[in-house]
Structure formats: C-alpha cells, structure tokens
C-alpha cells in the first residue's frame, strides 16, 4: 500500500493522518508535509499512525527531524499508535523516550490541553 497523508487543525493542534507504508521510498513525502506545516506556523503536531502498515528507520528519521523542527519553535510532535509491530520499532531504537505516544487522538488532545 502506498502512503496517504492528510491533516487538519483542532484548536492549536495540527493532526496529521498517516495511512500506508512509511519507508525509504515514501518517507520523503511525509518529511515534506512536516516541513511545510512547520514553515506555515504549525508547531504542535500530532501524527496519527493507527493506519500505518509499515514503518522503517527512514520513517523514524523523518519523525525525529519533525520533532527537531517543532522544538526549535518550542513546539511538540507527538504520536498516536497502539499497533504492537510499530511500537516495537520505537522500543528497539529507544525512541519511546523521545516521543509522547498516546493510545488515541482524544487522549493526546486531553494531555496536550493539560500542558497549556
């Protein structure tokens, strides 16, 4: 499956919907979207990965790059993910300590609201 990307704003949070495979071929599209969102002033990103079938280290690199960019503006990049096969990659690489990972968009929104 190819990569499908969409995004919308809810309050101050930009929710990025990702569906399909994030790999060395498709990851540049996600990178471009994250860069574009940050360039347009969206510094609080929530990437919903519930429909991601595949994620490799190239995809991890894009997410880390996005995190670095939003942090440069005191922003945040958090994830929604409950799929064990995807979470396993974050655990193996130690990135569970770097990203906020939530079980649902609502849970992330609630946590984000408490930070305000």
């Amino acid at each position: 499956m190819d990569l499908k990307l969409d995004h919308h704003n809810e309050d101050r949070l930009t929710i990025v919907e990702v569906e399909g495979e994030i790999d060395v071929y498709t990851a540049p599209r996600l990178r471009e979207l994250l860069i574009d969102l940050v360039n347009k002033g969206n510094f609080h990103l929530l990437v919903n990965m519930e429909k991601v079938d595949f994620l490799d280290s190239t995809g991890l690199g894009v997410l880390v790059g996005g995190l670095k960019r939003v942090r440069a503006h005191d922003g945040s990049l958090e994830l929604v993910c409950t799929q064990e096969r995807i979470l396993k990659i974050f655990r193996i690489t130690g990135l569970t300590k770097v990203f906020g990972i939530y079980a649902s968009v609502d849970e992330a929104k609630e946590a984000h609201g408490k930070d305000k």
Partner: protein, 142 residues
Amino acid sequence: MATVELTFSALPAHVRTARLVATAIARRTGVEESLLDEVRLAVGEACSRAVEAHRAHCPGEPIRIELRDDSGRFEVTVSDHAPSDEIHLEQPLDLGTLSDSFMTGFGLAVITGLADDVEVFPTAKGTDIRMSWPATNGIPAS
C-alpha cells in the same frame, strides 16, 4: 538447500519489492506467521541501508539479496558494494546528532532487534548483512 537470488538497482522504490519477495519466500520456507513482520522489516532495513549507501557511492551498481532455506533456517544475505561508514550502535541517543535523512545506526539497531541471528561483515567490495530465522519446512528442491 534452495536458494533464490534477487538483484535490483539502487532505487528506493525497489525496496518494497524486495520486502515482499523476502516475506513470500519466508512464508513458503515455513517461518512462523508471527515472525513474518520481523522478516519484512529487517530485510527492508538492510535493503534501505544498501540503497542509501549505493546512491551515495556507486548508484550504477546493483544490490544483491540471497534467500536460502538452510537446515531448518531461513537465511537472507543483503550485499552492497559501498564503503562502510556505520556509526557505533552503542552511542547514546542524542536528538541533536540524529539526521532525519537517514539514520544508519538505527537501521542496524532495528535489524539486530528483529532478526533471530545477525552478522554484519565487510567484504572485498562492501558489506554483507546476513540474518536468519527458524523455519519448519524447506522449499522443495525441484
């Protein structure tokens, strides 16, 4: 021993094809269904790493994958022809030093975390990554 060999140009689009081939052969070789995701990801990581290395050093050279059914193991070897420039996996995680274009060390960390058995060794031309998983039955020889 049954062997399948695949060579492909150093293009990111071909990595998905390599993943699909490896997963299909792993399934036929008798690798447990619960391990197929790990095979798919580990082979994809090894191929992504090779593609990035070839694009940087020798874009015209093909990448080779060898998939073997060997005495109860499903073994995959990904061979590249690029100079090795791996970072050490033992380095502590530092967000500031991570590149978002490609994180070679993370790729190898993922492979090591997923494959049942992994060897990374230099060859005369580049690097071989060999990984294997248990398999319950072999591919018929004929």
